[in-house]
Symmetry: D2
Subunit: 236 residues, 4 copies
């Protein structure tokens, strides 16, 4: 399992609070716990050439993890098209938190991916709706986060293929926090938590869910189907 | 119920066989049977200014029917964006046959929308998989078409929200022929049959399915949800 | 549209608080607002012969509404089998609140249908997740109920075909409050609110949802498919 | 991974043709290829005490494979209830071919599970609809079986959570041949092929699908959720 963790890596440079929580960037924290789970993990960030997502990197990536927030528009359309093609070809994609508004997620969903939000450091409780799902493996009935940004419904996404987590927020909202999709030969998992000013990716349960998600999104051993003009398989 | 039937209207100008089957264009044939079903129907075609889809037309359309084939690339990106926004705002969309490769469908799906195909005038039998679905109202166990173009799996679409019809083809293939999706406040129905060189849209059962589909895709009476920054509904 | 509203009608006889809120029984309240919506509505209760669900009543019912709580076990297995058969034959079924534990719902679901619960008169907020669904027609972003019984996840049901509402509860739980299913030719809508000690069925928005649900669950005009031994449609 | 393969084992005793294809019973053939895939496999048959499904066997089974046909009614209701409970508690269940009419499958589905059928030794072609699904791992675009019993739509099941295979039959029918469901903590995979008079379970691709299915249905490491009366998690 070869994983690439992509991070915008801007808040960490600008905001001392974020730099304190993630001194080497959110990507490094995520890469670390995936490595501990036995995966082969690389990282890539926005300001590297080609955002660190060269053809060589992409073709050698089984699952790509994506964190972005304030610089979605700086991601080049060409790279987005390449990532989309790799997903259709079978690469898994884990979209985290504010990645809901990333070009790649919106491109794959076809909707606005908009939502309600509020930064008030309130409590979030993620309930497991799908107890037999491998992404919920090892997780109790819910995960509690003392402080998180609120994301609230309506979340303007296609109906998820599977709905693994549903969040309760102290301020009165709910949110589809763990959603799976299939696109072409690829699997996609959207997972809500992870605002940059809270230590969410240091939480062991959150790490477990992301690790489970990466395993779940691993490519199936299959070629892309053959498309285009086809000879009959039976006599006409 | 205000319906707009959009047609590329190119084959009808170039191919005498198509002109014979649809002397006034595929759009006129479709508009006629929808009108007979009591709907208020207009038409729009590629070569009209703004492809006939001005802001005035779009805002006054409850459900848009789409037929295109050889000129998908001539549809302007700006119009496609407007149609997509109208769907998210609640307008229904019926995508017919080769419209699987239209810009608007691909944009809303996020996948290649590719498939296998063959023009051999073979038999197609559309089986009803979802007997309680309103789109199957009044239809028997299957619809048989003596001659159609073959579309075969794998069809590279997101998993449909609902799968109403599955086609059997004489040459050995199957195809998800009737698929529903929701995007934003809008409903989408993809319906496979309708190659331009066969009289498919004169078939009464096919007409019934399209009419049912338009009714099903009618907008729900709701405003778009409110997105963006939100105050708490409960004390924090 | 011919509707039958079935009610256990026991709390109303025993608990003065319930009798005060629903002097003629929950069934009469529900029947009234459905009648005002133009439907032809009858009622049936547990203590009538055959629980009021004779063959004549069942065959003349397009949609059956079900409310039960403390006497699920008193419903005869024979009647349950007849109701199940009618659903498979196309009758719509609306299961309300504590009906989650009714024999008919468990029989149609195949699971325990268990959940968490608490009677504490707390606030419930039902968020619309599926804005284009006809059951959400005319409803705002959410419905707020000042006092309700809490039902919490995990709700042990099959994955709903459609998830229309998700509840937030003051005490920290979430719940899939509006779920649709198809079984045979029939449509099923489970709707959570309606504890007998709160005036929930007098709430105009709740009435609107139930009315929408009944319309949505109306039978499609179709015979049951033909099952059993079948001659080939093509030469072998 | 501990697997139990259950077989009615009646055709093998009565029909020399079946005995020739499966000299030690269908269960032994299936157990063999699962063992070769590295699983720990036991078998159980109808005529053993408790049908071979004692509490000890069930509790030590991660995934149960089920083949039955002419003796569904001889399976005791008590054992069926125990198997259902084990599925809700997390055991995987693979239902093969004529098992569509088994008590356990009907109980878990809530529908008639009826279908069209024909024994004419015709060709079946199973198309992969869900290319990223682990159950399709290592399988090409379709599996071709020269001779099989026909099963045709409408198949009276709940809408599958996932639809992995769709069959084309020479005689003109289609069928949802690979369907997944979740019930409680358990996963279910229905796989169509396997009429007793054809050597279907000797086919390497069919073996691969069943092996994939067993792996997919493995229990997630989780306790059953807590149900019943619940104290609030937040102050009321």
């Amino acid at each position: 399992m070869r994983v690439t963790v992509w991070n915008e890596n801007r808040h960490e440079q600008k905001n001392p609070l974020v730099a304190e929580i993630y001194p080497q960037g959110i990507h490094t924290t995520i890469a670390s716990f995936l490595q501990e789970a036995g995966m082969q993990v690389g990282t890539a960030t926005l300001d590297e050439p080609e955002h660190g997502l060269t053809d060589e990197v992409l073709v050698a990536t089984d699952v790509l993890v994506w964190w972005g927030h304030i610089a979605h528009e700086e991601v080049s359309d060409e790279i987005v098209k390449k990532v989309q093609q790799r997903v259709l070809d079978g690469m898994g994609l884990i979209v985290l938190h504010s990645g809901h508004f990333s070009k790649i997620f919106k491109e794959l969903m076809g909707t606005s991916c908009d939502l309600k939000w509020r930064e008030a450091g309130e409590k979030e409780r993620l309930w497991v709706l799908d107890p037999s799902h491998p992404i919920a493996d090892g997780i109790g009935e819910y995960i509690e986060l003392e402080q998180e940004e609120m994301y609230g419904e309506h979340f303007d996404i296609p109906v998820p293929d599977e709905l693994v987590f549903m969040s309760w927020f102290q301020g009165g909202e709910v949110f589809r926090s763990g959603c799976t999709y299939k696109r072409g030969n690829g699997k996609i998992f959207y997972f809500r938590p992870g605002h940059e000013t809270y230590p969410t990716y240091h939480n062991k349960e959150i790490q477990r869910v992301i690790t489970n998600g990466v395993k779940w999104a691993a490519p199936t051993e299959r070629n892309r189907p053959v498309y285009g003009n086809a000879k009959p398989l039976e006599k006409l």
